[in-house]
Symmetry: C3
Subunit: 353 residues, 3 copies
Amino acid sequence: MPGSTPKTSSGRFFEDFHLGDSIVHATPRTVRAGDAALYSALYGSRFAVQSSDAFAGAIGYPTAPIDDLLVFHIVFGKTVPDVSLNAVANLGYADGRFLRPVYPGDTLSTTSEVIGLKQTSAGDAGIVYVRSIGRNQRNEIVLSYARWVLVRKREPGTLAHAEQVPELAKAVLPEQLGEGCPRIELAAYDDALAGSRFRWGDYAVGERIDHVDGMTVEEAEHQLATRLYQNTARVHFDAHAAQGTRFGKRLIYGGHVISLARALSFNGLGNAFHIAAINGGRHVAPLFAGDTVYAWSEVLGSAEIPGRGDVGALRLRLVATKNRACADFPLKAGDQYDPSVILDLDYWALLPR
Amino acid sequence: MPGSTPKTSSGRFFEDFHLGDSIVHATPRTVRAGDAALYSALYGSRFAVQSSDAFAGAIGYPTAPIDDLLVFHIVFGKTVPDVSLNAVANLGYADGRFLRPVYPGDTLSTTSEVIGLKQTSAGDAGIVYVRSIGRNQRNEIVLSYARWVLVRKREPGTLAHAEQVPELAKAVLPEQLGEGCPRIELAAYDDALAGSRFRWGDYAVGERIDHVDGMTVEEAEHQLATRLYQNTARVHFDAHAAQGTRFGKRLIYGGHVISLARALSFNGLGNAFHIAAINGGRHVAPLFAGDTVYAWSEVLGSAEIPGRGDVGALRLRLVATKNRACADFPLKAGDQYDPSVILDLDYWALLPR
Amino acid sequence: MPGSTPKTSSGRFFEDFHLGDSIVHATPRTVRAGDAALYSALYGSRFAVQSSDAFAGAIGYPTAPIDDLLVFHIVFGKTVPDVSLNAVANLGYADGRFLRPVYPGDTLSTTSEVIGLKQTSAGDAGIVYVRSIGRNQRNEIVLSYARWVLVRKREPGTLAHAEQVPELAKAVLPEQLGEGCPRIELAAYDDALAGSRFRWGDYAVGERIDHVDGMTVEEAEHQLATRLYQNTARVHFDAHAAQGTRFGKRLIYGGHVISLARALSFNGLGNAFHIAAINGGRHVAPLFAGDTVYAWSEVLGSAEIPGRGDVGALRLRLVATKNRACADFPLKAGDQYDPSVILDLDYWALLPR
C-alpha cells in the first residue's frame, strides 16, 4: 500500500551484513573538469601530470588524468550510506590498487562485497570488512581496495551470522603496480616544468623528507570537499548534533587529511606523479577545523616494475601531523604515536626513471 | 557631456516601477560543468540524473542536466540588481514552472515584467509583483515564475502610479507539468544506482518523511553560492554594514536554504529527480552562518500527468528548520510557525512510475 | 648517490639571483571552465564578456575568454616558489600587458628573467626585479609584467653579485594596448545585457566612481582562491606558524584584493570588460579574514587606440579599502595613505566605443 513503507534509510547495522553480500552503491558520478578545478582549490596540488593537458599529453596520456585521490574519494563516498553510516570508527585500508586512469567525462560507480565480519567482545558492535570496487562507464575497474570499519549493532548482544577475518596483503607487490599509468615518453618528461630534478633513482630507502609547509583547514573547506565526494557521513556536517558528542564539534573526513598531506608532499616528491597503490593506512587521531596540517615522508622501499623501463615505484610512508612542524619527523615514542600525528599512510607512488 | 552622469546604479525604488514595465536584466551566464561541480560541493546533492551523464543518458537525456535549482538561482540572481536591491523583504513566489532542461554550455538570461504594484498603508514602501522569465541562448523559455517583494520608496509618501494585485494560481496544474523532463526510458531506470526503490506510486498523500540529516552552514559557503549565482544583494556579503542592522550580521540567501533542504530530501525522496514546478514558497525566518539546517517533507498531492506513462508528479511540502531535528515534523502551533522553521515550500516533483 | 641530496626546496634567497638569470617555473596549468566557475564564485564578477559564451560570441570572441585577472593570478602563482618564498614584501608591479586572450582548455606556463638587483642599506635583504612571462600551449605570450620584491639574504652581509635597477615605464602607452582583445562587433554589443549604458566616451578624466558594495572575506575563500592559483606562499595558509609573526594571523594574497575590487567595480564600470594593461600597483596595507573590502575608481586618462574604432581605453586608478565605505573616495592625507586603504592600482581597461 502506498505510504506504508518508511522512505528514509538509516543505514545498515552490523546484523544487516552477511558474508558474500554484494552491494550496489547509489549515485553514479560523472567526474568533470570542474571537479578537478575544485580539487585544485581545496588542496593546491601541483603535480604537472594532473595539472596540465599539455604536459600529460606530451608524455603519453590522452589528456590530464583526474587526481588519483579524487577518484578514491568519489569511489569511497558512495559506500558511506551503505557501509559506514552507523560506524563507530574507520579502522583501516589495505590492498588498494589504482588500475586505470580516470579522465574528465568518465562516470564512476561503486560496488562492495562483504569479505569479513567479526563481532567485538563487548557484543555491541562488530568489524565489517568490505572490498569496494570503482568502475567507469565502460564497466572497467579503476580502483579496488579493502576497508574495515567498526559498525554498531542494532540490538546489542545479537550474534553475527558468521564470522571470518579475511587475509589481506601487507603490501601490494611491485608486479601488481603500473596498470593505472600508461607508458611514459621519458624524453618528453620535463623536470623543470614538473618542478623537481629528482627521479626514481635519486631516492634511497630510509630517506626521510620534511615537506615543510603547513595548511590550516576551515570548516567550509572540508565540508565542500566531503560534499563534492557525495560522502554523507553526518559527523562531518552537523555542528548542532556534534555538540552532544565526545568531541563536541564536527570531525574532518580522514580522506581530506590524505589529500592535504599528498599535496604538501609535492615539495620533495614533485615527480611522484601517480599513486599506484595504497598498502595500508590509519587515521591515528582526528582533525578539526582550525588545525594546521604538516607532513613528512619516509622511503620504505624502491622497486622496479617488471616490464617497465619508464617508471619506477617508491613505497612511501606519508605521515601527517597537526599543529606541529615536521622538521624532526615526529612519529612514535615507543608503541605510542606522537600526539601530533593524525595520519600514517603506506602507499606506492610512481616516478619517471 | 562625458562624466556628467553618475555611473553607479543604486537600484530601483518603488516609484521606479510601472505596471507592464519590461526589464532586460544584465549578464547572460553560460552554465558549465564547473558550475555543476560547485553546486555539488555546496549542497552534496545525490540525485543520479543530475550527477551522472551515463545514468541520464540511459533514461533519455542527451547528458546530465543542470540541477533545476541551480537554474532557478542563476535566473533569479540576475533580477536582484533591478528588482530587489532596495527590497525590505522577499514576500513570496508563485506559478514557477521549469519548462525545458538546461545542459552544460547553455547560456541563461532573464527578463521580468512588472505585473502588480501595491503600496503599503504606511506609505513608505510598496509591493512589487514581477513575472521573471529565464531563457536559453536559443531564446527558449526554461523557467517562468512570479515573485513579489516589498520595496522601499525613494521618497516616503509618493503615490504609486497605479495599483493592481495580480491573480496568481495557488498551484500549477498537473497538465502543466512535465515540459522540463524528456520522456523517460523506464526500463533503463536503475533503482539501485538511483539510491531508492520507491517510485511515484509508493508515496501516499499525507505521508510525512523526516530527511534525518543536518547540514551546518558557513559564511564562506553561502557567499560562494550567492556569488556563483551573481546575486548582488548586499545583505549576504557585507559584515561591516550588517553591524548596523537589526540582525547585526549577514543574512543567508533564501535560495541557499531551498537547495540545502532539497539535497537533504534525497534521503526519502531519492527518485524525485526533477522539480517541475514551484507552487509557492515562504522564507519564514532568516538563517545565519553557524546554524544547522534540517528538513522534512509532506506529500500534499499525487497526480498523473496527461499523456505521460513514464513519470508521475508528487506535490510536496518541503519544510526546513534550523538547529532542530525534524523527527516530529515541526511546523506550526496554531497560526504561528514553530520558531525553528525557516522555509515552507510547496512544489511539484516528478518520479518514475 | 641516491638519497644524498636534500629533496625539499626552501626557495631562493637574495644571493641566489643573478642578473639575466632565466627561470622556468614549475607546473603548467590547463585553465578550464571549472576554474572560471570557481573564479565566479569567489568574486561574483558580472562582466558579460567573461560570463557568457553567447555574448562573447556575438561580439567576436570564439567563446567567453578567461577573466584577465585569473590569468594573472595563475601566471603569478607559478613564480612564488622560485621568486618570493623568502620574500619580506611584494613591492610593486609595472608594465603589465595582457597580449592574447586565454580560453578554456589553454595551458599556461611561466618563465621569469632577473632584470634588476639592489641590496638594502641594512644588508640583510635585497630587491629582486623580475620580468615574468606567461605563455599558452602554443608558446604565445599571453601576459608580460615586471615585479619587484624584497627578498631575504641567506647570510646577512653577503654582497650582491652585481646591482642594477631597471627602468620601467610609468605607464603602458595607448599604442601598446588592445592585443589581448579581438576586434569587437560593436553592433552586436548589447548594453542592456552588459548591464551598463555607459560607453568609453561617457567617462571623463578626473571622474570618480564609488562602487558602493562591500564584500567580507573569509579564511576559506582566500585559501581556496590562492590554492586555485597554485600560489604556495605560506603566509596565506599556515595559521599555526602565523601565531609567531607580527600580525599573528594569515595574510590574504594581494591578488585576492585586486580581484575583489575589480568585481565590485562592475557597478559603475560595467562595460570595462577587458584589462589591457597594469601600469603599476601597490598593496598599501594587509587584508585579513573578517575584513570587508570596498572600492572606488578614478579616471586617470582616456585614450584612443591607434587603428581601433571599436574600443577605447580608460586609465583607471582602482582603490580598495577595508571596513570603510568609499562614498567620499578615501585615499591620502598629505603623503600618507588613509589607514583604510589597502590597494592603489593603476590599470588600463578597454570599453566599447
